[in-house]
Symmetry: C2
Subunit: 204 residues, 2 copies
C-alpha cells in the first residue's frame, strides 16, 4: 500500500511543520505569546488541524521539550571525547550553562515549566529525556569517583547536588533574579559562581 505510506509520511510532515512553527514563535515571542492560533496562522492551517495532531497545548509543549533534550543531548555527546571524567564533568557544566543562556525559553520548558510533566502524567508516560540526561551526568560523576575523586560522598545525592547547583544558577538568571539583586558584577555572575564551584571540586 504505497498510499498508506505516503499518508503516514504526510501526517508526520505536518506534525513536524506544526512543531517547527511552534518553535519559531517560541523563540521569537516566548512561551507566553505562543498561542495555538498563532501557531496555526504561522503555518497557514486552521486551529482545528493543530488539534488533530496534538491533543492539547501541553502535548505541543512536551514535544518541544523533547526536541530541546535532543539538542542538549547532542551537545553532551560531543563531550564524550573528553576522556578525563573530571574534565568532562566541568565541561558538561559549561555546555549546560551556555545552552540555558542561548535558549532560555527552551530551558524553562525543559526544567521549570510544569506543562511537559503534566502531559506525561496525563498519558501515563515516563520522563525518559530527563532520566537519560541525569544518567549521563551520573555516569560521569561515577567515573570521577572511580578515578579517586569525591571520596566519602554518595553517588546519587552528589549527582543531584551538582545538577541543582548548575540548574539553580541558570534558573535564577533566566528568572531575572540575578540582575535584580544588585550584584557588583551582575553579568558573568553565573560563570564566576561556576568557577568557584570548579575550585571546590578540584580539591575533592
Amino acid at each position: 500500500m504505497g498510499v498508506a505510506e505516503r499518508k503516514a509520511k504526510e501526517k508526520e510532515e505536518l506534525r513536524s511543520l506544526i512543531l517547527q512553527g511552534a518553535k519559531k514563535l517560541f523563540v521569537q515571542k516566548g512561551i507566553e505569546q505562543t498561542t495555538i492560533r498563532s501557531i496555526a496562522e504561522a503555518i497557514d492551517y486552521s486551529v482545528g488541524t493543530v488539534y488533530v495532531y496534538f491533543k492539547d497545548k501541553n502535548a505541543i509543549l512536551h514535544a518541544l521539550h523533547t526536541q530541546g533534550f535532543a539538542e542538549l543531548g547532542g551537545q553532551f555527546a560531543v563531550l564524550f571525547n573528553v576522556t578525563d571524567p573530571m574534565e568532562r564533568l566541568k565541561a558538561m557544566g559549561r555546555v549546560y550553562i551556555r545552552f540555558a543562556h542561548d535558549n532560555p525559553d527552551m530551558y524553562e520548558l525543559m526544567f521549570s515549566i510544569k506543562a511537559p510533566m503534566e502531559f506525561l502524567n496525563a498519558v501515563n508516560e515516563e520522563w525518559k529525556e530527563g532520566k537519560a540526561a541525569f544518567t549521563v551526568l551520573q555516569t560521569t560523576v561515577q567515573q570521577c569517583m572511580e578515578a579517586g575523586h569525591f571520596d566519602g560522598h554518595r553517588l546519587e545525592p552528589m549527582t543531584f547536588m551538582i545538577w541543582s547547583l548548575v540548574h539553580g544558577m541558570c534558573s535564577l538568571e533566566i528568572g531575572q533574579r540575578t540582575k535584580s539583586v544588585n550584584l557588583q558584577e551582575a553579568d558573568g555572575i553565573v560563570e564566576q559562581a561556576y568557577d568557584e564551584f570548579l575550585k571546590i571540586i578540584d580539591k575533592l
Copy 2:
C-alpha cells in the same frame, strides 16, 4: 479630619482583604487557578473593586511575593541567635529548603515566576526583598570567611553559588523534575544532596 483617616484605614483594610483572599486561593488551588474573579468572589466584592486596589494581576502577585519574603525573612531572623556563622549558614539552607517544601506555590512566586519582576519593571522599582535576602546570606558567608573558611574564594560568586545550589534543588523538586528522574531514593533526595554539600563546605 477623622473621616479621611478612617477612609484611609478602610482602604488599607480592603487592600489587605483582597490579598488575604488571593493568598487563600493561592494555597488552596495554586497560582494557575487563582483568577481575579475567584478572588473577588471569595471576598464578596466585584472584579472592578479589585482593580481599584491593584492595577493588574501582576501587582497582586507582586504583593503576595512580598508577603512571602516577609515570612521567609522572619524565619531567617531567628537564625541570628546562632552565633557561629558556619552553623548559621547551614541552618539557613535547611530553613530555606523547608520553606520551599511547605510553600511551593509561594516559593515559585518568589524565585521563579516572572510576574513579580515584570511588575517591578513596569513601575520602575527595585527588588528590595530579594536584595535584602541576598544580603542576609552574603553577610553570613562573609562572617564564615572572616572565621577562616572559604579561603581563596570570592564573596559574591560564592554567595550566589550557595544560593543557586539550594534554590536549584528546591526548584527541581517543586517543578516535579526529581520524582520523574527515577532516583533510587526519590523522597529525601533534597535533604541528602544538601548533606553532601554540608560535608563539602565543612572542609572549606
